[in-house]
């Protein structure tokens, strides 16, 4: 009987140990992966483009581009059915973020160098008001200073709002 009892105890111990070991292995793999391949996107060159990250509302990747040295005020080629009607235009990241209602990315751009007084950005508040992006408009008003253009165009293309404000 002692042999039977000890074998039963081993079975019961195994039922406890198996999930414990599997969990420990999983945590160890995660820890080793962190060391070998850091999980942060910012530690390596971000994939895609700043335009893609703004379109996808991926604020961390968008920040990675700015952190990597991309000028937050430099115009970038934008081609989007929703905001440019499929035409390719040059727009600033801030104007694109406003047109796409990306509130977090607007906050990030304002935090890291986007300036209201530059010609490529100065219409951002008008654009936000035109598309009724109230949260974005409030943020621009609150954080952007007094550089925004307040003389907004009377008529705008509702189907491609960004076109009204870029060359």
């Amino acid at each position: 009987m002692p042999g039977l009892v000890s074998s039963r105890v081993r079975i019961l111990a195994g039922l406890i140990v198996v999930p414990a070991v599997l969990g420990a292995i999983l945590l160890a793999v995660v820890g080793v992966t962190d060391v070998v391949q850091p999980t942060s996107l910012d530690n390596r060159s971000p994939d895609g483009s700043l335009v893609d990250s703004i379109m996808g509302d991926d604020v961390e990747t968008a920040y990675a581009f700015i952190r990597a040295g991309q000028d937050p005020n430099a115009t970038i080629p934008v081609d989007d059915a929703e905001v440019t009607g499929g035409r390719q235009v040059m727009a600033s990241p801030l104007m694109l973020a406003v047109a796409k209602r990306r509130e977090n990315i607007v906050g990030m751009l304002l935090s890291f160098g986007a300036r209201a007084d530059l010609p490529q950005n100065t219409s951002a508040l008008c654009l936000a008001k035109q598309i009724h992006a109230d949260g974005v408009a409030d943020m621009l008003t609150e954080l952007g200073g007094k550089g925004w253009d307040t003389h907004c165009p009377a008529r705008a293309d509702a189907s491609a709002p960004l076109l009204e404000y870029v060359d």
Binding site: L15, L26, D42, N43, V59, E60, S111
Partner: protein, 115 residues
């Protein structure tokens, strides 16, 4: 600190349960075995979920630093001492080595609950 004593108490409790179950009939032993397995698996899930929760919080905190830095600077502009503390903490808050949530399979994430 209490965790050590909690672990010791849990060890002796589970050990006693296992020894008693080993000395009973087969049905009770199987039931006890299943119970111990479920408890052990649940405990591990909790441990993994705790780590994942901390990683998620770290990621959210960093996102807030990225998005709200200008807002914090603007709103606290009248308190120079606060701004000084904010600026000294910014590099740490924006540190790209901050952990991110692990991309576990969806079915596994569901077991972690709302984190």
């Amino acid at each position: 600190m209490a965790v050590v004593f909690y672990a010791l108490a849990a060890y002796f409790a589970v050990r006693t349960l296992a020894l008693q179950a080993a000395n009973t009939n087969r049905t009770r032993m199987v039931a006890a075995g299943l119970l111990l397995f479920v408890v052990a698996a649940g405990w591990q899930l909790r441990a993994i979920g705790t780590v994942e929760y901390v990683r998620t919080i770290a990621s959210k905190n960093r996102r807030e630093w990225i998005v709200d830095l200008r807002k914090e600077r603007t709103e606290s502009g009248a308190v120079p001492h606060y701004v000084q503390i904010l600026e000294s903490m910014a590099p740490q808050g924006l540190d790209p080595s901050a952990p991110r949530p692990v991309r576990y399979p969806h079915w596994l994430q569901m077991w972690f609950g709302d984190i």
